[in-house]
Subunit: 531 residues, 2 copies
């Protein structure tokens, strides 16, 4: 039987200490439901003693039935001057009415002296009697040994004595925290060994956990090393959000436990929801996804080099450490300057286009692609443009309109105001001439508006489409404002999102190309849908 590891999520408490990561009470409830759904054991909801929003959250959560997860309220040991039953922080913890309570105490002598400003002996006492006071009132009682690793390195005997008090106070789990994130994985085995030995000396069977921070970029490694050395409980956050550089990232820890270390945890059954969970948390916080994120990032199973692509097709194991579907992600083959025939064929298959490797059109598509890439086009983030290019080469493309001319004018006559911007556009749809004009925040915006004005009455579905991102990159830094630019546009409608690209020395022209591709792609997609 594999060892079972308990997972404790602190996205809603330690996670929200991250700069720019904010969640409303409503968002937090949504995150809870999702964490419960996938099988996280404990969800730390907040610190009711220090944060009024946490109080509100715990109140609302009393009406939410969780199936698997147990909610935890977080706080500190009592104030030295207060008896437990008069300590506002401990009382707030009980008022949260959660099945689990976690309190942290000081393990590092320097902190006792410099932060708490009390005697070392007094700190031992408040740890034991805060826990002992809570014990009869809560189902699960967890003790976070703050700064455990720094404390251990500085004063091993005292640090272990604080754990002894937590055992005596009745903690069910004692969590070794690397609060400042300064510990490296090779330091962990010796420390863990001493902790387990101390636990035995105390005749205790308390569960040992680990809580790591990413200041050395080793939070995930430290957590896994902790488990390798005997910890049975891990604290972390979704996507690794947390104070400073973040907490241990559960989206990387969970698949390592299950697929690589042969351990068990409840999430095992729903691990294919990992990708969705990771994206949901970002979406709620309105933050972009980190494309390079292990396991759940967009690039995590993306293959660029031609050699890699053909090897992966023969045997995915050659360049993938796990199968992407296991965590709900998928393989992507990138179109890049290293693109060879095999990349293009895989794409054709994906688009449902019928073409064989030895078709002469294939050679033509590849040479066209190389020429465009030489000019600065890039299709990695612009697959819609790539699909249009292939359809054009295969004669499967329809022109939805014919441009006659456009004009964009920027006129600045007031120093303190942005220029006045106007675009006009003249085009034909099915033989009828359309001529429109529109203002905009800038030249591209004005052009976009004039173009939609012209087309929407012929193609009403354009109403559902919007541009969601616009990126400009100068391709060479050599010719000042005369350099080539590449424009990437991202668009979406009610069902999909897609990227298109344009390249020119003129930013208006490059933007125009990407805009037109985006609209053509949308219309082509709708037409396919109707067939």
């Amino acid at each position: 039987m594999a060892r079972v590891i308990e997972l404790y999520d602190t996205t809603l408490r330690d996670g929200t200490q991250a700069e720019n990561f904010n969640l409303s009470v409503d968002d937090k409830i949504k995150v809870c439901r999702q964490l419960d759904r996938i099988g996280i054991d404990f969800i730390e909801g907040g610190w009711p003693g220090s944060n009024p929003l946490a109080v509100e959250f715990f109140k609302q959560m009393q009406g939410v039935a969780l199936k698997q997860a147990r909610l935890a309220a977080f706080g500190s040991t009592r104030h030295f001057q207060k008896k437990p039953d008069q300590d506002a922080n401990l009382q707030a913890l009980l008022a949260a009415k959660t099945p689990a309570v976690t309190i942290f105490g000081k393990s590092w002598d320097i902190h006792v002296i410099d932060a708490l400003r009390i005697e070392l002996e007094d700190n031992l006492q408040i740890i034991e009697d805060s826990l002992a006071y809570l014990r009869p009132h809560v189902r699960h009682l967890i003790y976070d040994a703050e700064h455990f690793f720094d404390g251990f390195k500085n004063n091993r005997e005292y640090c272990l004595a604080t754990l002894g008090k937590a055992m005596a106070g009745g903690a069910e789990t004692i969590v070794l925290c690397d609060t400042n994130g300064g510990t490296l994985p090779h330091e962990i085995p010796e420390i863990m060994e001493r902790v387990l030995q101390y636990r035995a000396e105390q005749g205790s069977e308390v569960r040992i956990g680990i809580h790591s921070h990413n200041d050395s970029e080793t939070a995930v490694a430290n957590a896994l090393m902790g488990v390798h050395c005997g910890a049975d409980h891990i604290q972390g956050t979704i996507n690794g959000f947390g104070e400073r550089c973040g907490n241990a990232n559960l989206t990387s820890i969970i698949p390592a436990l299950i697929f690589k270390m042969g351990l068990e945890c409840k999430v095992g059954k729903r691990i294919d929801q990992l990708y969705t969970t990771a994206r949901m948390v970002n979406e709620l916080a309105n933050l972009p996804h980190n494309r390079y994120q292990p396991y759940v990032g967009e690039s995590a199973f993306a293959h660029k080099g031609g050699i890699h692509v053909s090897a992966v097709q023969r045997n995915p194991m050659t360049y993938e450490h796990i199968a992407p579907e296991k965590v709900g992600n998928s393989r992507r083959v990138l179109i890049s300057d290293q693109s060879g025939k095999s990349n293009v064929l895989m794409k054709a298959q994906k688009y449902g286009l019928d073409i064989e490797a030895d078709d002469p059109l294939m050679t033509e598509i590849i040479s066209q692609l190389k020429e465009l890439e030489n000019q600065g086009y890039q299709y990695e983030a612009a697959e819609a443009s790539f699909e249009l290019l292939m359809r054009r080469a295969l004669g499967l493309h329809r022109d939805f309109f014919q441009l006659e001319a456009f004009r964009v004018m920027n006129h600045k006559y007031d120093l303190n105001k942005s220029p006045y911007t106007e675009a006009t556009i003249r085009l034909y749809v099915d033989g009828s001439e359309v001529h429109t004009a529109a203002m905009g925040d800038g030249p591209v915006n004005a052009l976009d508006r004039a173009l939609r004005k012209a087309l929407t009455r012929f193609y009403p579905s354009l109403e559902d489409m919007e541009l969601t991102d616009y990126k400009v990159r100068v391709l060479t830094g050599e010719y000042g404002t005369g350099a080539k630019v590449r424009v990437l546009v991202e668009s979406k409608d009610l069902e999909d999102s897609w990227g298109t690209v344009g390249v020119s020395v003129n930013i208006i022209e490059a933007s125009w190309q990407a805009l037109v591709d985006s609209i053509n792609y949308k219309l082509m997609k709708d037409e396919k849908g109707r067939c």
Copy 2:
């Protein structure tokens, strides 16, 4: 004496395999100079046998004198059917004329069979004789054992035999690669021990290195664990860029080696340049900085929680694993503007401006700065704009011209041609009206030309000035083409180069602000020079 660790940077080769991370040949040369400046031992520049841009890069680098770093060209072992002296890849490596050459070979039997499709014995032969062929021609010869860790787990004896061939072929360093990034740190000690034992059995003293990928979010940990277990050479990239989830991040590895593991490397002397180096690479690639990045991120030493802030003020060690200044970063206290003031004072001193900390103008400058930063201005890469801002606030600024109006027009009337672009500008210099017009490759280029046409006869030194770079970044991805953009312009004259910034929803307006700042800075600088 501390052990000396060799650092091998592959930002320019493996790094550029990252999705969205692209560098021009010029950018690559700038990165080289910076890596050389800080003391990186080896810089891998590219794969000349597979990439024409790499050939161009190595050609240009022959004119660049590096002080400390040695440039490396990268490639594979020879093709099985080709003799070394007829193998295009090996010949391209020699043609790159670099002091170091690195070739990779297969360690994992599955790859030999599924990717190379040759016999296991044949693979051993091409490893040895590719290296032996290169050996007399290059100063430093490095062997990358691709998929070493996977190979070891699958067929230990064969995998070690490939290393034996690399030793026999004359490699100076053998690098154990975790190509798929699937290895966890606790697996490393046993594997390293066996490798060192095998090396001894072979009577070899070859240096052992490690090259790790971040697919398990443990690349940094694996590299450090490798060093802990006896490796003396680390391969990685700046900011961890690399295929899929990235390579081992040197900006996290270097401070760990020096400050935490007591080891030595050349970068030790310039480690306070780490922050600048990390940002420079992002700027050149036009990618945003990762604020949560360990050591060099904006949030890495930012303190949000009230308890933490007061503890850090009493004793920084309480919540910081290292002192931020050591790597060129700084502490940020998110609720106070103290750090802002000291920064501004430092800048004033640098510009030769006379202002004291308690001057009421100081408060004004800081609040203006905060307001502008809120709007999206950023002065890190635009110090000229910042100096102008300070001079304006101190009443030390002269207006060299007054704009009345400008107009920029783009007119597209031929589908196959770029739009026709014209700018007109009307302004006053010392009471005389000047009205000019110019064509351009794009709207900003036309505006720049019309502006210079108007000013050069009054200020002939503008002839010596040119724009060298132009970067556009969209600040929010939420409003399509209506989003705010930040434009950074870099300019130079015969003596200096400087950066300026503009922000607006209108790209023409943002570019105009940066252009005008650049010209004002040039004229201000020339005037100072004449005093």
